[in-house]
Symmetry: D3
């Protein structure tokens, strides 16, 4: 039993609230336990310069945290004048993962910008972001269909993400902040609906991890993400 | 009758949700109609260098908008590497206003940082920010009292703010985005509980405004702010 | 009697020197007592991207202080790599005020950039800047007329600005640095030739101010600005 | 057979030149085929502020590419005024990996800064950097021992890294630029001497990858890194 | 005869106005013909970190141009967020030159910051800056003596600077903007009162220059600077 | 005899290695004794905006130092977010010098970017950079000729550079770091093959220098550069 009463394989309760804010083509509040992220998908005509004239679309992502999303206040990145390495790493991960889920040729010359803004952090903000962003993206695609700008959805399949890790020598799923701070290994896994992987990022924080530990973590991740994809579907189908 | 069905003096419905996020000493979601702002107050020991050793506290504020709080997406300030002039102007206004509400000597050597982050914008984000921030500040002060770090509240009196303006030649209270875009004059007023003013910022967007128009706007502002202060009290007293 | 020997309503001596520097289409040195600001107006063909093809002109302003314009040296903004919030606030105010004075449609596709550089500061630098900039703007417009690029002046009316405030409990006009440092309330007022207002920015530095105090300050401002507009006319007509 | 004549499991020839430049405590030129990276380790007394007084050391890394290390010239990051997200991601990976290899308590209050500068790029720059940096670090530690500042080496074990991927449907080891550009999946693996993993970062560039593909890649990585660790030892023992 | 009516050896009329602004310890307006620069010297207690505890002082310089000092408006460096390479080069030259003129040990732990701000540019702004800055520095040193903080002046000797060049194949002294734009070679020379050189910076803009041309330019520079040093003395002695 | 065993007129051994890295059109490692600089020349179609449509080419340069090229580690400019004044001064010098060597009209609408990256520093990095860059430029021009994009080389003549100075009262050629740190005067000279000068930058670090000392330094520079030009020719002709 984990200190928070969960079994090793048990993810935190997930809540997905669509249409959370009014203006974005897709707007989702996703909650992984006490972690809360607003994910919006904004559609714009045209693509960045490096893609012009190639007849394909683009998906990109930005990530931020409200300064007091965390236990102690973090300096505002806009005030410091730059995004941290961590922020850039996360937003690159989100964008890359979502691009894998979409047929960019079929999207056509639209840019969809995903904004993931953490309003409350308790571990797993990047995996919650990816999971919520996928739903926001689906709503944004539907808005393009509703306006007649797309006939067929370019989404190949849903994706979702969860963190897994080794805590007190045992593999566990969906670490909260407290577990994450004490994990020997921390691994973020992005998986598609068909059970294949899009990103695996495992980091030994203390001791290195073995091949067997890695496989145990991957198995937990697979199980966790399957539940998240089901939650995405439930939210998406609930009008 | 205004296009949104309000009378000239009628502000939008106000909702103040305390303890909106978990970590901050004060955390408020304030809604002025469709404008929604998360206001947090974070307490830190110590004061900025320029105040050290003077036995007084400090209150400062930062303001931001989620990129898709608006009708079309605005570039993220953290990604652009600087805060706009508008952002800085607003956060200076918020900080200055709140400092006027507090006896900084009585606060002692604590710094309270107010973060106002707009998650949905429909006009009046700066006045909603100030009004919500005052409640977050009150909760933060109470947390200091609860921890025995302060015996008496250094709050001199509550403050709140509303925008007023001249739209279609007539003075109106609490402009939404649509009205604001068409206003001849836009005025932001910050007032204290005792009916006196802390900030008055009136700007002719098109035609200059007369002394009489100014007085009419000020009267509307006074009436609107009195209601906001009542709403703050109701929220604060509702445990 | 004020410490500097002026009556409450008495502004400092104003000097307006046109053609102060050689290259700008309009170049004015304005002095409000010991406050000295070089205001230039530079005309360029074309308008910023957001206005292209709309057949209208643009007026914008930048503000700076020489590092040793003040009692103690301030770090050079160019060396620090950014303009302070105060600087941005002031230059936005100057630009906005002057745009109100001009029919931008009638200006046509020209951009006029106002630079206000304070070479000596003793309070009231932003109001002196606006007052001097209006004369520089008038000269720049005349240069366009002289070159046959404009037939009719797009200037609707002159504007000028003065600071007023509450010092030692009494409303006074055109505060110097010493008064400004001790003011309970500081208000900057921009007014047009027809007696109507373009900007009113009042800030309680210490105690809030009452409706009556505000009206007293406004009356002083009106009187002061009328004298400034007369001084502008005298300078402009003096070839 | 791969287009470059290598078998799937075959890494490129590795060359490790110690004492490549004169001033650093450790200085290594590492070559993975045509990829060439200068790795230096610089020792400084003291630790960053956040570690002071904790009696432990720190290892950090920076990464850069000469502008023309690549086929076409990339803008110089120093001239653009910021490091790209990719650069920050890589240098965070290098630093994190090396910290895992060292007992920071046993290092004591020294900071070792690793600089990895790519002078010629042909794929695998981050894995070459880590592999070369480990040798530079070993030399830097020896310099501390030679000066009597350390008695026992704080290095727990060597680490090295290699990239693996799926190219044309088949798992391969140590991708060059051409293979990397066409890979369906790209995975960077950092492993310690004892066969356990420190980092695994797998990214589906096109199609997602299966569990089996991942395991095949991991097996190739293990084999490749064992050879790299042998090459490190040979270089280190060759005085 | 040059197009401006001067002989080859003839510098432009020089005007040095001391106490040009009120707050600085030294404040000079220097005019080389139509080039006008405000040079101030600001004294602060203490020295930069790298000099602390060495019992010596420091002199540093910053340089700027008002945006419309030139024929067409240049973007404001503070707004662009950085100083140009040209600006940095010039301010490094000014600071280095003045440090050579002063016995920094005898100055003691004071920092004197020289600000040279060009309000009107017509060639030779850097040489005018150095020449004016020397007088501002002398006044600042006198202010330290007047306050009893220094007993003996640490100034070793005066310095001044002039530009020389090859225009239309002939060496000339003190080029104005028009000449400078057409010069084949441009050389800035800083010389001390004793006739020895502190800086020589010659640049072939078009054709390289010969040894003989260089010597001819140096001779003109020497003659020109001797006159500037006399002008400095006259201004300094004129109370 | 100098401490390093050289005569006053004796430069350090020079080594020029062409084709040092693989991708650039010109790539040279130049060594002046222990100073080692990688100089690459990159050819791109087109010219910067300010030259478009004028039928001429452009040559520009950037300079950098690996952080541990020096005795103690210097902060990485990319990480600090800006290039130092020294770096900008040097890269401006390199670019300006090389432009003088080339007939930009004859180059046509190509941009050649020179990158000089110091991997080991022992004095004279800027002069080694210029000397090596000239050879890289010659190779880049040859690559344009080989591709049929140029028929005739636009190089007017070779250029090279050396530092000279006054050390212990005597003029010497090609100062190493130790001599440079103790020099009374430091002078960098760029000369063309025909014996005429392109840049002369002399700086008194301590005592001013006399006309005679300057001439003695110039004579040493001429002799040193003649040898460097011979070394360039030898390297260039050695296929």
């Amino acid at each position: 039993m984990r200190s928070n009463g969960r079994t090793a394989a048990q993810a935190r309760p997930v809540t997905i609230t669509r249409n959370f804010t009014a203006h974005a083509e897709g707007s989702v509040l996703i909650e992984f336990g006490n972690t809360k992220v607003i994910c919006t998908a904004s559609v714009e005509d045209g693509v960045p310069r490096f893609l012009r004239g190639q007849g394909q679309g683009w998906i990109t992502a930005e990530y931020g945290m409200l300064p007091r999303a965390t236990h102690t206040r973090n300096g505002r990145e806009a005030a410091r004048g730059k995004q941290s390495g961590r922020t850039q790493e996360i937003q690159r991960l989100i964008g890359r993962s979502l691009r894998t889920a979409v047929d960019l040729k079929a999207l056509g010359e639209f840019t969809i910008t995903i904004d993931c803004d953490v309003i409350q952090a308790d571990g797993g903000t990047r995996t919650a972001s990816i999971t919520g962003a996928c739903v926001a993206l689906m709503d944004a695609i539907d808005s393009l269909k509703a306006k007649g700008k797309l006939k067929v959805s370019p989404l190949k399949q849903q994706i979702a993400a969860v963190s897994v890790g080794i805590v007190d020598g045992k593999p566990v799923c969906d670490l909260d902040y407290n577990e994450d701070s004490n994990a020997e290994t921390d691994m973020n896994v992005v998986m598609a609906e068909d059970g294949r992987f899009i990103e695996v990022q495992g980091t030994a924080e203390g001791e290195p991890f073995s091949f067997d530990e890695m496989n145990a973590m991957m198995a937990l991740a697979k199980e966790g993400i399957e539940q998240l994809i089901a939650a995405q579907k439930a939210a998406y189908n609930d009008n």
